[in-house]
């Protein structure tokens, strides 16, 4: 090679590497999980059985909603809890001795008057939530403090302080921020919301440290051994079955399509969906994985138009979903677009895809802003933020606040991470602004019902209230 061409070749090789990184090239990683390791487990997808039972209906005899904090109710904890491990307060797996069930465990961030909790949210990065997202969380806890005088925990009313950290849509950053919340901020528990693969990695990291965490998005088949992690939305494998049922039985679709981001954590949902569609006698005529970082989906739009699919599940983040729908619509293709829970079931999506997403449907773990149940939330939002208009993003913070509050209230005896974990493990809860939760021994995902949304006039409206079957 001529000497003068070497610099150019070097430059081009670097560019190729940048292109590969920017275009989302992924290489499978296997990380060993051994005793004491805090590494996330390998991201191998679990095959989900479409015939699995769908938990999530409230336990028989559960008390109806009462006007308590957020309208939550709890029943007495079941007695058949598994032998607990001691609350780690951040202690690596295998290091702490297994304590008696009566041991409340450590209580970092807990004082006589308050409990400090952490939130991990993707405020920046590849799949950010809007910056106003944290307002909803603060609105709820300010409401609890100002209107209710605090959460009754162990005979005392306590306020909740929150610390929010940005995961930057990156699992490694999320783990670093989790470490900071545990070791520096000394929070009592952590709420995690992020892309599924990040959620899975961060949740596994926290669980390995025996740190109670609430996973807003629940990866499929969350392992039963993750005793410190509580998923509060529908299992993605279970959801795949429900989506198939909905599109085939309700929309009478005989030809369906699914377009999903190319990440292994979505495979169980896609597999469950495909199997259930075939079981119902319909056909998945187009199934494609895409790079969510792409901009140009004209080829996929063309293929969708040619497939004849009348219903399409876009199993991806809001940004590529809006782009794909817009480009398909511009090419004259307009099926029933469908979003799974916590995907693009926010009104914000219609600011960039109003026409393309007309008539779209979605599953959601919370009721839409137009629902009367959100009235308290909206009133409080306006009271605390007079210059702002309440949005549906804040509903997530409110609903999760109800869950955390419900778990804290259910604690028997002194408050500690272990007693909180036991309370969550047996929690039966009907929040006002979240799907009903039903935990029990070995149940890691307590919320397997969804509300069904329909687009109407550029907003999501409620088509059907929380259900776990179609």
């Amino acid at each position: 090679m001529p000497i003068r061409s070497r610099p150019v070749s070097t430059i081009v090789v670097i560019l190729v590497c940048l292109l590969a990184a920017a275009c989302g090239a992924r290489f499978p990683r296997e990380t060993a999980v051994g005793a004491g390791s805090t590494a996330a487990p390998a991201a191998a997808p679990a095959e989900s059985d479409p015939g699995v039972a769908v938990p999530g209906e409230p336990a028989p005899g559960a008390a109806p909603s009462a006007p308590a904090a957020g309208g939550a109710t709890t029943t007495a904890p079941r007695t058949a809890a598994p032998a607990p491990t001691a609350g780690g307060g951040g202690v690596p797996a295998g290091a702490a001795p297994r304590a008696a069930e009566s041991d409340p465990g450590p209580a970092p961030g807990v004082s006589a008057t308050s409990v400090k909790i952490g939130y991990l949210l993707p405020i920046t990065g590849a799949a950010p939530v809007p910056a106003s997202f944290d307002k909803g969380a603060r609105v709820y806890w300010n409401y609890v403090r100002d209107q209710l005088g605090g959460i009754p925990v162990g005979g005392q009313k306590r306020n909740v302080e929150i610390v929010i950290e940005d995961t930057q849509s990156d699992a490694n950053v999320g783990k670093d921020k989790a470490r900071k919340l545990i070791e520096q901020d000394k929070v009592f528990l952590i709420v995690v919301l992020d892309r599924l693969e990040n959620q899975q990695a961060i949740g596994a990291f926290l669980d390995a440290r025996k740190f109670p965490n609430i996973a807003i998005q629940a990866p499929a088949g969350l392992d039963k051994s993750q005793e410190w992690t509580f998923g509060v939305t529908i299992d993605h494998g279970v959801q795949g079955v429900l989506i198939a049922d909905y599109l085939v039985k309700v929309h009478k679709a005989s030809k369906l399509a699914v377009v999903h981001e190319n990440t292994p954590v979505l495979t169980p949902g896609v597999t469950a969906f495909t199997r259930q569609v075939e079981k119902l006698g319909a056909q998945v005529v187009y199934s494609k994985s895409i790079d969510g970082q792409n901009n140009d989906f004209s080829s996929e739009a063309l293929q969708l138009a040619g497939s004849g699919a009348t219903a399409t599940w876009l199993y991806m983040a809001p940004t590529p979903a809006a782009k794909l729908a817009n480009q398909a619509d511009a090419a004259g293709h307009h099926p029933v677009w469908f979003a799974n829970a916590i995907s693009w079931n926010f009104d914000l999506i219609f600011t960039v895809g109003r026409k393309a997403l007309a008539g779209a449907r979605a599953f959601s773990p919370w009721p839409p802003l137009s629902d009367p149940r959100t009235s308290t939330y909206q009133q409080e939002y306006r009271r605390q933020n007079p210059a702002d208009i309440p949005d549906d993003l804040g509903i997530v913070g409110w609903g999760v606040g109800e869950i955390v509050g419900g778990g804290l209230q259910a604690v028997q005896g002194p408050l500690g991470q272990n007693s909180f974990r036991l309370a969550m493990q047996n929690l039966q809860l009907r929040p006002t602004l979240w799907n009903p939760l039903s935990f029990g021994p070995g149940v890691r995902q307590g919320g397997n019902s969804v509300a069904i949304y329909r687009e109407s006039d550029g907003r999501w409206t409620l088509e059907r209230d929380f259900t776990s079957s179609i």
């Binding site: 003068r4 405020i123 994985s289 895809g353």
Partner: protein, 294 residues
């Protein structure tokens, strides 16, 4: 398959708009730039902000076509600033220095977009109207058709510019040897300025057309797009405008055809990377490049 090829060609034309700007900068300054995408995106986002919220101080809301004009003007101005403050001091440095510097420019612009315009995707109706063209089974939206026309027109104009105008010859002299060119009275700094302003303007056109065609853009979106356009420029030849167009069209078609035949995500990206590597191995100067060296 024909429809996929047509669709791929329209995508390639979109890449070509950005690739031409990259080649123009490289041809004039021997600097490889990956900042074109964010330069254009910033201009487009300013246009959108003024269309939605009104022009500051005037309160007047830009019409649709105004977003394209603002995108071009703002992007050209950014190009001017980048040339003067960032790239001019690096003129005699190895090309890698310029590349790293433009990466920094792209990051700074993207972060500024995040701060000023937010993280949410921004969308607008196409500046050239909403109509479609059906060609051999493929449906092409207005923005993409205009992108094809603009890319061809710009390439033709640049060909005439380099071969028939005095300043164009000055640009060619500068690229051969800037020191000798300066001694001979060629306004070398003007050449650099021209390259960056012209490529910035072209980036503004690209962003204003592609933003609506994609259904919206967000910070960092067009940097990823620029990397693909750069792949097209490498395949076609980094110092050839027509090569940039040809390479971009090839990339667009390969993406569309591979994407339609292989269900696995990322297959089209792998195909593009493979094509780049094969080109580098067999013909480092690209299909139409004159020289392989900087």
């Amino acid at each position: 398959m024909i429809a996929q090829i047509i669709t791929g060609l329209s995508s390639g034309a979109a890449y070509a708009l950005v690739a031409i700007g990259v080649v123009l900068v490289y041809k004039c300054t021997r600097a490889l730039s990956i900042a074109q995408g964010e330069i254009g995106a910033f201009g487009f986002l300013v246009g959108l902000r003024w269309a939605d919220g009104g022009v500051p101080g005037f309160g007047w809301h830009l019409p649709r076509f105004g977003t394209l004009v603002v995108a071009v003007v703002v992007a050209a101005l950014i190009g001017l600033v980048v040339e003067r403050l960032v790239m001019r001091p690096l003129v005699q440095r190895p090309p890698l220095d310029g590349l790293i510097a433009t990466l920094g420019v792209a990051l700074v612009l993207a972060l500024a977009e995040l701060q000023i315009f937010g993280t949410a995707q921004q969308n607008a109706p196409p500046a050239v109207g909403e109509w479609r063209l059906r060609v051999l089974g493929a449906t092409l939206v207005s923005s993409r058709v205009v992108a094809v026309v603009v890319a061809a027109a710009v390439a033709a104009a640049l060909y005439v510019f380099f071969s028939r105008t005095k300043f164009g010859l000055a640009v060619l002299a500068t690229t051969s040897d800037p020191t000798v060119a300066r001694v001979l009275g060629v306004p070398v700094n003007q050449v650099y300025r021209f390259a960056w302003v012209a490529s910035g303007a072209l980036a503004g056109v690209a962003a204003a057309l592609l933003g609506p065609a994609f259904g919206g853009i967000a910070p960092f979106d067009l940097t990823r797009f620029t990397l693909r356009a750069l792949a097209g420029a490498v395949i076609g030849g980094l110092d050839s405008i027509w090569g940039a167009i040809a390479g971009s069209l090839i990339i667009g078609v390969v993406e569309a055809v591979v994407g339609s035949q292989v269900a696995a995500g990322g297959a089209d990206t792998v195909a593009v990377l493979a094509l780049v590597l094969v080109t580098l191995l067999l013909r480092p100067r690209g299909l139409f490049g004159a020289t392989a060296a900087a």
